[in-house]
């Protein structure tokens, strides 16, 4: 929002001087931006941080296994503070401080998690910790949906990721139930039409898909990751045909899909062992084509995120290739020569394609 305003500050006087805009028009635009602008404010951000800190306080209080208090008193304390947190949220909503109210809800959800840990500790429940994380995630999801709280839903998504990650580390196999949990929280994000939450959901899902490569086919499933990433990217390109509401998701979906595909290609090249040199060269060309396509896409759609992801991917790829080929058949100077050559060929192809598109009526 801030960058949009500063861009308008530059553009509006220029447009007025060019005669495209009257002084009244400029004033109206500025007024509209000021009234619709949802700039980030310090106080709600601090309130959220405060809620997170209260959650940590509750958890470390439990970790100390404080013996001055009876079990029953400890349980009563956690129940009372849980109720109090939500009660404070209600009062803050009524007084017109929704941002602080959401922080109080977040504190309530954190205390619910602390309660699960407390009970596990005092009753020596040493079963399967991911189950406790799932219970916590469902509590956060319920609170987020019933009370319409985006921060609680964000915590639910984080916990779903933690749950699945823990299951996969424990078992070493793909944890498919994650998709159900992820779907439930994402449905809540969609229902509330909360765009930052949808981005968060996309990031969590991307990480999960990239992990598939390390778990499927005894750890050699990176090809699947590349395929899924490319499919997501293609779906992103097709999204605008579904209607205007969805076209805003096109460019992020392409960026996420390309990032997933790149992560898969990267693993095939540098995590897999015994990749033959010829195969490595072909894969490297594919990876460079992908990142350059990403950069091209970022430039065409003015998506700075896609652009920076592309630059980041390019640097990673080139660095990794450098370290892999140093001291091998391919000398490092030969390597840079080859990479430079490939990039120039790709640039020429891009130029030809662009010229052909321009030539079309």
């Amino acid at each position: 929002m801030w960058s949009y305003r500063s861009k308008l500050d530059n553009d509006l006087p220029r447009w007025r001087e060019a005669g495209w805009l009257t002084a009244e028009g400029e004033a109206s635009i500025r007024k509209d931006v000021a009234s619709h602008g949802r700039s980030l404010e310090l106080a709600p951000a601090l309130a959220i941080i405060g809620a997170v800190l209260i959650g940590f306080a509750a958890m470390s209080f439990i970790a100390a296994n404080w013996d001055e208090m009876s079990r029953l008193a400890r349980l009563a304390l956690i129940f009372a503070s849980l109720g109090t947190a939500y009660g404070i949220a209600g009062i803050l909503f009524e007084r017109g401080h929704p941002a602080f109210a959401h922080a109080a809800i977040l504190a309530g959800v954190a205390l619910f998690g602390a309660g699960i840990m407390l009970i596990a500790q005092i009753f020596h429940i040493d079963g399967h910790p991911p189950d406790a994380v799932l219970t916590w995630a469902l509590g956060a999801l319920g609170a987020g949906v019933v009370l319409g709280s985006n921060p609680a839903l964000a915590l639910a998504m984080l916990l779903m990721g933690l749950w699945s990650g823990w299951e996969m580390v424990e078992s070493g196999v793909v944890h498919w139930p994650f998709l159900l949990g992820w779907g439930a929280v994402t449905a809540a994000f969609l229902w509330r039409w909360w765009v930052p939450g949808l981005h968060f959901a996309a990031v969590v899902l991307s990480i999960w898909i990239i992990c598939l490569g390390y778990l499927l086919f005894d750890g050699h499933g990176h090809g699947v990751v590349v395929g899924v990433g490319l499919l997501i990217g293609a779906a992103g390109l097709a999204l605008p045909s579904l209607g205007e509401r969805w076209s805003a998701f096109s460019s992020p979906a392409v960026a996420y899909g390309m990032t997933i595909a790149f992560a898969g290609l990267f693993a095939v090249q540098f995590v897999e062992e015994n990749v033959p040199l010829f195969g490595l060269i072909l894969l490297a060309i594919a990876a460079l084509t992908l990142v350059l396509a990403g950069i091209g896409f970022g430039l065409r759609t003015s998506s700075s995120a896609a652009l920076w992801l592309g630059y980041g991917g390019f640097s990673l790829e080139v660095l990794a290739l450098y370290f892999k080929t140093v001291g091998t058949l391919l000398g490092s100077s030969l390597f840079f020569l080859a990479t430079g050559f490939i990039v120039i060929v790709l640039a020429a192809v891009a130029y030809r394609l662009h010229a052909r598109m321009e030539a079309q009526p």
Binding site: G115, G139, V146
Partner: protein, 190 residues
């Protein structure tokens, strides 16, 4: 009260009731298991007596923590469920008789089934069996901060055993510790 206000407080009441309900159910489930579960005594295998009581919880290891199962259709892997059948012997000890990924259909009156989760599993081809390290949820015993040394002195060179409560579905809970046949630490319900 406007309807918006009523909905807000109704929502808060529902969230608080459900969350406290879930926590309360966890407590009830455990208390029920401890108070009505069948009691068995398992000998604790000493790991390293000096490190047993360091810190704020004790790690307990049992004979049944390592089991061998004949090769079956289902291969054991990390995280999979395993059912261990124990038999009460004449001297009152509980000994492992069978283990496998399926719950036994029926058990005798002197037998009890424990449900565990595989931590590590490996296939030993020459013996035709899977060997697994199993967690039953009775391996750690939290003790109040700073009381580890006292308990350590108390145990010394004596034999340590654990009092376990087992419910019908095979869930197990640590109920207390037994030193030389004497209950030294019994878990209060609350």
């Amino acid at each position: 009260m406007t309807s918006e206000r009523r909905n807000l407080w109704l929502g808060i009441a529902v969230v608080v009731a459900v969350q406290i309900g879930v926590l309360g159910w966890m407590v009830w489930d455990r208390v029920h298991l401890l108070s009505s579960g069948r009691e068995i005594v398992l000998e604790v295998v000493p790991v390293d007596p000096r490190s047993l009581f360091r810190g704020d919880y004790v790690i307990l290891n049992y004979d049944i923590s390592r089991v061998e199962t004949p090769l079956g259709k289902k291969r054991l892997h990390r995280g999979s469920l395993i059912f261990t059948t124990l038999q009460k012997t004449k001297d009152g000890k509980w000994k492992l008789t069978a283990a496998g990924p399926e719950r036994p259909e029926s058990v005798g009156p002197d037998q009890v089934v424990l449900k565990g989760r595989v931590r590590f599993a490996s296939r030993v081809a020459r013996r035709g069996s899977d060997v697994a390290t199993v967690n039953y949820g009775i391996e750690s015993f939290f003790i109040p901060e700073g009381t580890g040394r006292e308990l350590e002195k108390l145990v010394g060179q004596k034999k340590l055993a654990a009092l376990i409560a087992v419910d019908e579905s095979g869930n197990a809970a640590l109920k207390g510790l037994i030193v030389d046949g004497e209950r030294v630490y019994e878990e209060p319900l609350f």
